[in-house]
Symmetry: C2
Subunit: 325 residues, 2 copies
């Protein structure tokens, strides 16, 4: 029986709100409760449960793995926000801002350990594989974050390097989420790998969509100010590709805006967006996104279960591609 | 066959220097190689191998667990140094000083994950227990570090709270090191637990010795300046016990030195040390240390292997108690 998305989300939220985090010292555990309570779309644990549900009606076995992944994801947000000096997350103060940097460091460490606590609860026959997958993925996410920070110091990042970076920083955890659900439900190795590939491609498409939304999103729906990446000279797909495709004049104009220390925000956003438009970057990014999306659907269709069982996963993937926030 | 301490240390150093850390991005992995190469006495992994060697000639199985514990220990040093703003470690610059705070955060995270990579390599029949022990211990170490930081903001810390804190921050990892070696060698549960207790008590005694050495060590042998804890108003056993035992005059004098923002270093050290001497704190701390040391030896003697196999462990414990650095 295929469980509804709503039911699976409820399972996740119930489990998260009943995690035994009411522990001493409160100075360590309160920030963990705080960041987990900020919500978010819970996409990763949802993917874990949906993947499990392809092979088994009983999604309980996958729930611990799903929680591990959500706790790990929030750990990365906590440390990344500190490293990026971001003050807000989901409309609320970040942990290092609400408390202090040391709290963010140590509560983050505790979350990474807490994530492993839930990995340790997966069925014992798949524990070694689940543990290795989780450890490899976690390390790759750190590598991705390091590349992302390194890229901000460089002015010669190629599109290939950018894709390799978002694969590590974003896509492998999506792949891991799905594969973990398959493992917990004792799928074949082949099906688990197909789901991993599905996740990698969804993750890549997802990040390209994020890059696009910052520039081409609808303000009202996007909920946060557009153009933040442009203002911060963030090396997104759009900026990297623009630097690659631009003629001499466009290149000089781009670099002028990148190096300016003082500027009018709207003026900078409009100038850079103009160049993106001249270079047709919206449609270039959209075709690449679509390429990954189609590769994802291909991998999903190779999974050896009936198509009607895949509806929830297909719908979720589609909603991620066509989302407006 | 009981392997010599020297041979076991060599195994550890060889394994550490051959860890596959020559990976990309170097900005992530170089700081890990750096801190692991700074040395230290490798006491924890040594305890793992010695514990394993009580039950098995083959210490290879325990070596991965030993490495996991040493990598974890160095991860805690890396993040603690950042949180404590310590610039030097083992005579060299700390990672956040040599690189920057973000590097210390992310390379530290990667070390915690790397530690789990080696836990995952323990024999599969003991993997669930080893994983749970490691996760519980890691979380306790975080709790201990948080209590330690919280205590620095308080002026009413009791001796009982202090002992509970160093149990978490220091002793549980020593206990875990020993129990992990026993698990890897398939000891009985009872023997593994005796070794854990041995480690807890050695760890408590070890920390009291550390507190004593800062004040009563011999400068030449101690290698670093004495009195650092006094200068920083660090809430050690000595200071907490002094605040508890002091009469009105001594208490006022202590609090005067604690609250002074500017002072002559030697003058402050001598004044505080004088009060410690008046209160006989050296011998009070030494008897408590001895109490833990004897409890440790008691637990070790309960382990069901021949006494002559325990010589290396007994010698190591003794050397930790009577060390002068």
């Amino acid at each position: 029986m295929t469980h509804s998305t709503e039911k699976l989300i409820n399972m996740i939220e119930n489990k998260i709100s009943s995690l035994p985090l009411n522990q001493e010292p409160q100075t360590l555990f309160e920030p963990i409760q705080y960041i987990l309570s900020l919500g978010g779309k819970r996409i990763r644990p949802l993917l874990t449960l949906m993947a499990s549900n392809l092979f088994s009606d009983d999604t309980e076995a996958a729930l611990n793995a799903a929680i591990a992944i959500e706790v790990f994801h929030n750990f990365t947000l906590l440390h990344d926000d500190l490293m990026d000096k971001s003050d807000m997350r989901r409309g609320k103060q970040t942990v290092h801002k609400k408390w202090n940097p040391n709290t963010a460091i140590l509560s983050g460490d505790a979350m990474l350990i807490e994530a492993y606590k839930y990995i340790a609860k997966v069925p014992v026959d798949v524990l070694p594989e689940a543990l290795n997958l989780f450890t490899q993925t976690s390390m790759e996410v750190c590598q991705g974050q390091q590349y992302d920070m390194d890229f901000e110091e460089r002015d010669d990042v190629s599109v290939e390097e950018y894709i390799a970076m978002i694969r590590l920083k974003t896509a492998v955890l999506v792949g891991c989420s799905l594969k973990m659900g398959a493992l917990a439900a004792n799928s074949s190795k082949q099906d688990a790998d197909y789901l991993y590939d599905f996740g990698i491609n969804i993750g890549l498409a997802f990040q390209l969509k994020d890059d696009l939304l910052d520039v081409y999103g609808e303000t009202a729906k996007f909920g946060k100010k557009l153009g933040g990446d442009i203002l911060n000279n963030k090396k997104t797909f759009l900026l990297i590709k623009a630097l690659e495709l631009s003629n001499k004049d466009q290149n000089e104009e781009l670099n002028k805006w990148i190096s300016l220390e003082k500027f009018d925000n709207d003026e900078k956003i409009n100038a850079v967006k103009n160049i993106y438009n001249e270079l047709n970057l919206k449609s270039i990014a959209e075709s690449l996104m679509k390429k990954y999306y189609l590769a994802a659907l291909n991998s999903l269709s190779a999974v050896s279960v009936a198509d009607n069982k895949k509806t929830e996963l297909t719908n979720l993937a589609e909603s991620l591609m066509y989302r407006e926030l």
